[in-house]
Amino acid sequence: MSAAALPAAETSPANASRGILLMLLLPGLIALVITFLLPLIWLLRASFASSTMGALSGGDWTVQSYSTVLFDPFYWRVAWNTLVLGFNVAIFAVILSYPIALFLARTESRFRGVLTALAVAPLLTSSVVRTYGWMVILGDRGVINSTLQSLSLTGGVIRLTNNSLGATVALIEILMPYAILAMLSGFGRLNTQLEEAAAMLGANRLRVFTRIILPLSAPGVLTAALLVFVLAISSFVTPRLMGGGRVFVLGTEVFNEATVTLNWPLAAALSVMLLILFSSIILLYQRALRALET
């Protein structure tokens, strides 16, 4: 009797805890299915629908939107623009944020908390507001142009907005706080004692940086670059406002097709393209990260 009861008693706690685990996961899973998975399926379905102005026609399946996207050179250029914008923003945001993040990670100042808060404080204002700020600075009659002209340093107006330069500059500044945060969380392996050990072994400041700090901070840099890249290629407000309708990226095109042209299937197909772009970049990132950590 007791011998028979024993195995059951042994397995039941494990089963029970697995049951509890599933129960605890359930609310989150349901929320994810409703808010993420279902819309995604709906998006996929919509991308295969035939385009009727302002509506999704019901039952028929067609690859019409995809053939439009794939065979129209305009969309290839848009995809290329998006990639270039993403790379430029990611590279410059990371380069500009790296010294700040490194300082914040290494400092022993008692103002460290305040400084970190200041570095990410721009996140408290909406990116729309900050984009308008950049329009004031970079615009044709903005701070830079009017200063240069009143000093008679330039004859005409230097075009800083309504092109991809303006969009890139604004996006870099807007996404820098994310880069700093991502780097700070990725600098866990940095440790002043390792730098001291390297110095004791004969490494000068430059060698300490190239041989110790840089390799140990690489995962954080990579994470920051990925985050900024993803945010940049999915951005819509900043390229739209700073580009003045002359900068075409996937984000702005999705918006155009969905709200202006009212071609929802095409908007859906473009979104799927953007998703595929995301996924491939994330796959590459994980490969790189694994290579860095082994």
């Binding site: 392996r189 440790n191 004692q193 390792l194 001291e196 050990a197 390297a198 110095a199 004791m200 072994l201 004969g202 490494a203 000068n204 060698r207 041989r211 110790i212 390799p215 140990l216």
Partner: protein
């Protein structure tokens, strides 16, 4: 003194904004090939001294001389000293061999020689064949060995160790204690280590420098420190003992209140008040109460510890601690009246009380 390999001369470190210096005019020296322990409670400034010698922090004043040359203004990466950090500080993104090789690379040693020296260093610390391991794949003891190999492979002028055994469990600690001593003896490197553990200091070092609150209390061999502590701090920090205060009645004789007079060794002017100390294991059972330097009292507490018996004896209003060997014939029991005696040279003068 002056021709010693390492000379620390009036070293002072005052951190900005601090009221008192963390290290206050500390001087000691060390002959080539010896091992010195900087011993003291936490916060006494011993690690600060080690870091100043290493060049990781700059002294406020004073000199650090190697072979008579002041190195205190030489940059840390040019000092050619090896350091074993408390948490080892092995580079996590490199293999064990790459860690050990790092210092040689910085010295632009050729690849073939580097590999040879890394292999020898691994042999020295008994990590033969583990060079390709990742640091995270090593046990705590192995990491310690790797850290020692890394600091020795550059053939440093001086080896510095910061609490080298504090991160190891008790069994490994004993093993590494002998191991470090052995490696140091075989390589002949002059070494300084920091510790708060008196056993570690007494058993590993040729010389001890005992510190308290930024000041050097005493420097000496383990025997000198243990048997002839010169200050009350040293006497109480290292080993156990019973302290007495007495008036010097004649040279080498003090009158202790509630006791008979005590004969002691040491210079103290007649009429002054002195502090005396007796180690528990220096007390022996005496036959009669008539002997000089004897105490008669009641056993208040007994702890049997195998080889020794620790007694607390109430004697003239004070508690006296005595360790008796358990093979010493008939052992006293609780409540017994016993007489203990001590030789005059085992009554140590540890300080004078200002009148």
């Amino acid at each position: 003194m002056a021709d010693h390999h390492v000379v620390i001369d009036n070293l002072v470190k005052t951190y900005p904004g601090a009221q008192k210096p963390s290290v206050d005019h500390v001087s000691f020296s060390l002959p080539r090939g010896e091992m010195l322990a900087l011993l003291g409670p936490s916060g006494c400034g011993k690690t600060t001294i080690l870091r100043m010698i290493a060049g990781l922090i700059a002294p406020t004043s004073g000199a650090i001389r190697l072979e008579g040359k002041d190195v205190s203004s030489i940059a840390v990466y040019k000092r050619n000293m090896g350091m074993v950090f408390q948490a080892y500080a092995l580079f996590p993104h490199m293999t064990v061999a790459q860690n050990i090789s790092f210092g040689l690379e910085m010295r632009k040693v050729g690849r073939a020689e580097r590999e040879e020296r890394v292999r020898k260093a691994l042999d020295l610390v008994k990590l033969t064949g583990l060079g390709d391991r990742k640091v995270s794949q090593l046990s705590g003891g192995q990491q310690q060995r790797a850290a020692i190999a890394r600091s020795l492979v550059i053939e440093p002028e001086l080896l510095l160790l910061d609490e080298p055994l504090s991160n190891l469990d008790a069994k490994l600690r004993d093993e590494m204690r002998d191991e470090i001593r052995d490696i140091q003896a075989r390589t002949g490197v002059t070494a300084i280590f920091v510790t708060h553990d008196q056993d570690e200091a007494l058993s590993m070092a040729d010389r001890l420098a005992v510190m308290s609150a930024g000041r050097l209390e005493q420097v000496g061999t383990p025997r000198e420190i243990f048997d002839r502590p010169q200050t009350e701090f040293v006497a109480s920090f290292i080993g156990a003992g019973t302290f007495f205060e007495g008036q010097v009645a004649e040279p080498g004789l003090a009158v202790v209140e509630g006791l008979k007079s005590l004969r002691f060794v040491g210079e103290a002017p007649v009429g002054s008040t002195v502090k005396l100390m007796i180690r528990p294991h220096r007390l022996v059972l005496a036959d009669s109460a008539g002997q000089p330097n004897s105490f008669t009292g009641t056993v208040e507490h007994i702890v049997y510890r195998g080889q020794i018996l620790t007694l607390n004896i109430r004697c003239g209003g004070r508690l006296l601690q005595a360790d008796l060997p358990t093979h010493a014939g008939v052992l006293p029991e609780k409540g017994d009246e016993v007489t203990l005696a001590v030789a005059a040279q085992d009554v140590t003068l540890v300080g004078q009380v200002a009148p």
